[in-house]
């Protein structure tokens, strides 16, 4: 699927991968959010079909206002590139229903600190739309386990219908023992049900 295309006809799910887009000028994902295909992704999401945004893909979804809040520069001033632990906070949604316990996935980002105003954060919590939180090996949302200063240790969130997931960790980098782990499969294997 090329960014200039304007139709998602025939597709069952959309995964927006990480990386960089349009130099991430202005803000991460800001220009990609206006790419021709994104208005179709918005319609696809509104129709309740599964959409997953990983890392820069998460930034694009927030910039496109498909997900609330924003991802800003890590509070520790450093690009963070290491394996972290997250735990699912809601396992009733399409993407997260196969997740349980503590999952290990790599993060690689400079702007991964999730923020939103108090009202939005409260709504996300009340509506059970916090999908993943950074946690210790015991599954506790400690400050030490938070790699970027995200509000409430948030690593990923859902839209109001629960069909759109945005997350900073990279599940696609842990899908085989050869890659150092298989924890990402619990999310990506959901594609077989899309």
């Amino acid at each position: 699927m090329w960014h200039r295309e304007t139709s998602l006809q025939g597709f069952d799910a959309v995964v927006i991968p990480g990386g960089f887009t349009y130099g991430d000028y202005l803000r991460g994902g800001a220009i990609a959010a206006l790419a021709p295909i994104l208005s179709e992704v918005r319609r696809f999401a509104e129709n309740g079909l599964p959409v997953l945004g990983i890392c820069n893909g998460f930034q694009i979804l927030t910039e496109a206002h498909i997900l609330p809040g924003a991802l800003v520069r890590n509070s520790g001033r450093k690009f963070v590139c290491r394996k972290i632990a997250v735990t699912p906070h809601n396992t009733d949604s399409f993407w997260t229903e196969g997740c349980k316990g503590v999952l290990h996935m790599p993060v690689a980002h400079n702007e991964g600190r999730y923020i939103a105003d108090e009202e939005t954060l409260e709504r996300l919590e009340q509506e059970r739309r916090v999908a993943f939180i950074y946690c210790s090996e015991e599954g506790e949302p400690t400050d030490e386990a938070n790699p970027n200063g995200s509000a409430a240790n948030i690593a990923g969130i859902l839209n109001d219908r629960g069909n759109v997931l945005g997350l900073m960790p990279h599940p696609e980098r842990v899908v085989a023992e050869l890659l150092g782990g298989t924890d990402g499969r619990s999310i990506l294997e959901r594609l077989s049900d899309a």
Binding site: L26, R27, A30, I31, L34, T62, E63, P68, G69, A70, V72, R73, N74, S75, G76, R77, I115, A116, D117, G149
Partner: protein, 78 residues
Amino acid sequence: MSRYRVYVTLKPSLLDPAGRAIGDSLRTLGFSNVRDVRIGKLIELSLEDGNQEQVEEMCRKLLSNPVIERFDIEEDST
């Protein structure tokens, strides 16, 4: 032709890690009275038949993210 300067800055409530790093460096240089540094962006626009409302729309739709930033617009009359 009309020219506008758009200043995009992080909301005051938001931590600016880059500004903080530069503040530390300035203090290292001996500017011990530096209390705070905030970094923003300056965007210069040249428009044919533009107006302030149009620039505000540009700011809301692309040049700034209202979740984290504020913008100020200056018309350049020189």
